[in-house]
Symmetry: C2
Subunit: 624 residues, 2 copies
Amino acid sequence: MRVPIIDLLHSPCVKLQPLSITNIQLSDSLLAPRLEKNRTVTLPTQYHLLEATGRLRNFQWAAGAEESGFEGLVFNDSDVYKWVEAASFSLATHPDPSLEALVDHVITLIARAQQPDGYLNTYFTHDRQHLRWTNLTQQHEHYCAGHLIQAAIAHHRATGKSTLLAVAQRLADLICQTFGPHGRTGVDGHEEIEMALIELYRETHQQRYLDTALFFLDERGQEPPRLGHREYLQDHLPVREQSEAAGHAVRLTYLACGMADAAAETSDATLLEAADRLWHSAFSEKAYLTGGLGARYEGEAFGARYELPQERAYAETCAAIGAMMWSWRMLQQRPEARFADILERLLYNGFLSGISLSGDAYFYVNPLADRGTHRRQPWFSCACCPPNIARVLASLPGYFASTTHTALWIHLYARGNLQAPLPDGQEFALTIDTDYPWNGSIRLTILSAPPYPTTLALRIPGWSRTARLTSSEQAHPLSPSPGTYTQIHRRWRAGDLIELNLPMPIERIVSHPHVIANTGQVALTRGPLVYCFEAADNRDIDPWNCRLPDTVTITAHTEPELLGGIVTLHTPASVRSSAAWRGALYPPIDILTPSEQRGELIAIPYYAWANRHPGPMRVWLPRA
Amino acid sequence: MRVPIIDLLHSPCVKLQPLSITNIQLSDSLLAPRLEKNRTVTLPTQYHLLEATGRLRNFQWAAGAEESGFEGLVFNDSDVYKWVEAASFSLATHPDPSLEALVDHVITLIARAQQPDGYLNTYFTHDRQHLRWTNLTQQHEHYCAGHLIQAAIAHHRATGKSTLLAVAQRLADLICQTFGPHGRTGVDGHEEIEMALIELYRETHQQRYLDTALFFLDERGQEPPRLGHREYLQDHLPVREQSEAAGHAVRLTYLACGMADAAAETSDATLLEAADRLWHSAFSEKAYLTGGLGARYEGEAFGARYELPQERAYAETCAAIGAMMWSWRMLQQRPEARFADILERLLYNGFLSGISLSGDAYFYVNPLADRGTHRRQPWFSCACCPPNIARVLASLPGYFASTTHTALWIHLYARGNLQAPLPDGQEFALTIDTDYPWNGSIRLTILSAPPYPTTLALRIPGWSRTARLTSSEQAHPLSPSPGTYTQIHRRWRAGDLIELNLPMPIERIVSHPHVIANTGQVALTRGPLVYCFEAADNRDIDPWNCRLPDTVTITAHTEPELLGGIVTLHTPASVRSSAAWRGALYPPIDILTPSEQRGELIAIPYYAWANRHPGPMRVWLPRA
C-alpha cells in the first residue's frame, strides 16, 4: 500500500517524492499521542456530529430516502468528505474493521445521492436542481466536489477500493464535460477543485482532469470577470500575475496548492514562480509568529503588509492547514529549508493550537492574545476546521520525509521508524531516536540502505544556529548552516549512526518594525515551539500587566505531568498592577509612575493554551 | 431667532441651557475658516452630489414625477435630510437668500413625496408600499424619519418656517399612531428616532412624541426580542441595564443621545445612570486618543475592552459626531468637565479629521496609522458621514457655552464674541481673545452683564495641569484644578477682564497597559490637539522606522503658511532603516543590531493629515 499525501511519482518537474504515510511510524511523546487521540476520539466524535447535525441526513434526503430537506450551510457535504479522507488515512496506518465498515456505510450514502448524470451536491437536488452551477461565486459546488475527489483518492490509496473513486470520477467527468474552453466559463469562488483534479489526474492518469484544473486556474482574473474581479476571491489578477497574498486566507492557500500542483505536472515556470512569490508575501510580510495566516475577521482575510493584530488575529486553523499543504508542495519542487521551516512552524504552533488536548474541541480562530473569552468549541455551524484537522493529523507522517532516486530527505524530526523505498526496489530504513521538539538531540540509526552510495539530506532548521552533526564514519563534527539541508553522500550500512544536535536555547524574538501591533514586544521560542503566558500557570499575575526584561535569565523545565508533558519556561518579569493607571486610558507619561515589582512568569507552548481554566493569555510581552 | 442644538428650556431635569448657535460668532484661525468653507464649498458640493447620485430624484420618483425608480441605498433619504439640517443651521448664522431658496426647493420635493397618510420614505413607495415597517431591523425607516424630524426642527428654528416641520409632524404622528403600547411593537435597528422625537416634543410640546420615544427606548432588550437580541443593535439588554459600550458604534452613540434626552424630560435617573455608565465604558476603555470610537471594521463596532488597533481603527466620523452629541447632552445634565474634555478631544481630532482642508473630501474611517493608502473621498455610496459633518460644522458655535438662570458656562475656547441671554431678559456679552488651540492664553472681556451677581464658570481642561486664572478684581492669580469648572461669582461689569492661561507644554502620552496595540509607544499632544507624523513633512525618513527617545527636547513651531496655519512639533528621533531587517519578519533579538541614526521628525495635528501627497502616517511611535 502506498499512501502519499500527494503522489508525484510521474510528475515531470519535481525534485522530491513524498513518502507514503505508512512509511513513518511515530512514537514520540507529542505527535504520536495526538494521532492516537485523532483515531480514538476525534474521528468517532466527528462522525457522531456529522450525523447529529444532519450532514449525513442531507445525503439520504438527496437520495430520496429522507423527507428532512437540506439542513445547514450550502457546503456541508465537504465536512463529510473531509471526514472520509481523514478516516481513510487512519485506516492506512491503523487498520480498523469497524471504522472501515463505517466509512463504507458513509460511502454508500454518498453514492446513493449521486444523480443519474453524475452530479453530486446534496444542496442542489430536488427543487434546487435547476440552480446547479448558477452561483459559482458563493455556493461552493466545485469546492465540495474537490473534497469528494480528495476523499476518494485517499480512500482508494488506503484501502484499494474504488467505491468512492468511481463516484468522484463520475462527478469529475461531469465537471470536465461542463466546463472548459469548449464548454462553460466560470470558476468556483472557493478554490479546492484545482488541486483535487490534479491529484485525480495523478491517480487515474486521465488527461482531462489536469486540463480542466489548468482551465480553472486560468479562469481567475479574466475578462469578463468570472468572480467580479474580487481580491477576496483571488480574481483581481490572473494567477500568474499575482504577487501579494490577499483576500480570504484559506482560499489563497488552496489556490496556491493548485498552482504548485499544476507546475509539477506541466513545467510551467510562471505558475511556480507566482506560487513562490505569493508564499514569500505570505510568510515574509503577513504571517503570525505561529505561522498563522489571516489578519482580519472581515473576509477571513489577509491584511495589508505587516498588519498583524494580536488579539484580533484571525489565523484560521484551515489557513494553517492550507499553508502546510502549500509549503509541502513547494518543498517537493524547490527543496529549500525555508518551506520545511514554515511547515514545522505551522505544525507545532498555528495548526496544533486548533485542537484541544482532549481531541474533541477546536479553534476556528487562533489569536495571539486573549482575555480569557476565546475557547475551543466542540463544533461550528461552519465546521470546515474540525475535519480538516482530522485529515491532517491522520496523514501527518507523510510530511516527515521525501526521497529522490538516490537520496532520503528528512524534513521533520520525531522519535520513530522510517522506511523509504527507492524506485529501484532498494530501501532506506532507519530509526530516529530523539525527544524532539523538547530536546534537539537526534540520533539516526541506519537499519538498511541501498548497496551503493546514496545521500542522506537532513534539514537544519532556520532556528538552529549552533547545529552539530557527527556520524560514525566522520572524524570531526560538522557545523551545518541553519536553514539548509545538510547532505551526506556515502555508502550507508546497517548500524551507521548519525547524531544531529540542534541546541534549543530559549530565543527572544522581535518583529519587523512595521508590525506595529508588536512594537516594543518580545516573544519566546524554543526549538520549533512558540511560547505563551497563560493565566492558568500564573495565578497571581496577569500576564497583560507584565514586561519581560531583556537581560534576565530564562530557564527551561521539563514537566512530564503538565498538559501531556511539556517543557515550560520560567522567567523573571516586571509586574505592575493595572490599578496603577487609576482608570486613565491615556495618561501623560510623567504623571504615571507605577511601581513595578519583580515577579516570576511561566510560559507554555502556544499550542497547549486554553486547555485549562480560562484567563488572560499573551504570546508577545512588552520588553523591559 | 433662537437656534439651540437641543432646546432644554422646558426640560425639568437639566442643569445647563445650551446657547443658540447664533449667540457665538467665531473668528479664530482654525474653526471659523472651516465653518466658512462648510458654507461656501461643502454645502454646495454636497447639494450637487445629492442631485447627481439620485438622492433628490428619489423624492421626485416617490411623488410620481419621475420614472427613474429608487436609486441607491435604503437609507439615502437621510442624507438629504442631514443636508437640509446643515443648510438650515447655516442660514441661522449666515443668511443667504439663494441657499434659502435651494432649501425651500428641496423641502418642496420632500413634501411632495409624502404619502396621503403622512408616510414618507421614498424607498417604501409604489411597489414597495406594502413593505412598510416590515423590516425595522435593517431598513432604517425610523432612522430616516428621525433625520427628517431633526432637519425640520433646525429649519423651523433657523427660518421660522413650518413647511418642513408640518411634513415631519405628519410622519411623526403616523409613527406615534402605529407604534406604542396600544399599537405595534418594534423598534428601528438604527437608533435616531428616539432623540428626534424628543426634540420634536421640545419644539411642539406634544406629549405623544415624548411618549413614543420612551416606548422605543424600552423596546430594546425585551422578550420576545425585537431585534434578535443582537448586541450589534444594542438589543442584548434593556437599555437601562446596559453598561458596556458595544455593537455598532454610531448606533450606540445615537441610542445614548436618546437616553440622555429622555432623562432630561422625565427625571428618570436609571436612564441617565445607564447613559453615563455607557459613556464611561466608551471613553475609559474603548476610545482612541483622538476620541474616535469603534475598533472593528466588522460591524463598524466597538471591540473588547482596550482593543484599539491603530492601522485598522474604524473610528467612523459619524461615531465621533454621535459621541459629541452624546457628550453635549450629558454635560447639560451633569456639568462635569470630563464631558467637555471629550467633546473638545473629538472636535479637534476624531471629528475634524473627517473632512479635508478643501471642504470637499471626507474620511469615513479614521485610522491612527497608515502606509499612505487611506485617502479622503469626495463621497461614498453609504454617504452618512459627509452631510453629518456639514450639520455639525454649521451648528458648531452651539457647543461652546451654556447658561443657567444666573451663570454662564464656557466649555470651549476660541476667538470670538458671545452673547448669553438669561431667562429674565438680562444678557451676558463678552469677547474672547485667544489663539486657542495654538496658544492657551485666553482673555475674556465682559461687554455687558446682568446688574446683579452672577457666575462665570470656565472649564479648565483635563489636559491643563498648570492653569492660571487672573481677573481685574483679583489680587492673586488662581491655580484652578484640571478637569473642573472654575466658578467666579461676582457682579460683573463691562470692561471686566479675565485672563485664563492654559500653558500648552508638549505632552508625551502613554496608554493603559491593556491597550496592547499601543505597547511601548508614545504619542504627542499639545493642548487639545493630538499630533501625528506624516511622510509629507518627513521626506527622507519613514515615520514607521522611527523611535522617539523619552528624554529629547521637543519644540513647537508656528507655521502660518502650512495646512491653513498650524503649530508643528519638531523632535529628534532614532531612525533605523527597515532594510536592517533584511526581510526577516521575526528575527531573534540578538541577531539584529540595526544601527540607529539620529534624525529629526516633524509632527502635525492629526486632523490635518492626508491633505498633501500620500505616505506613511503614525500617531503612536515606539519609545526609545
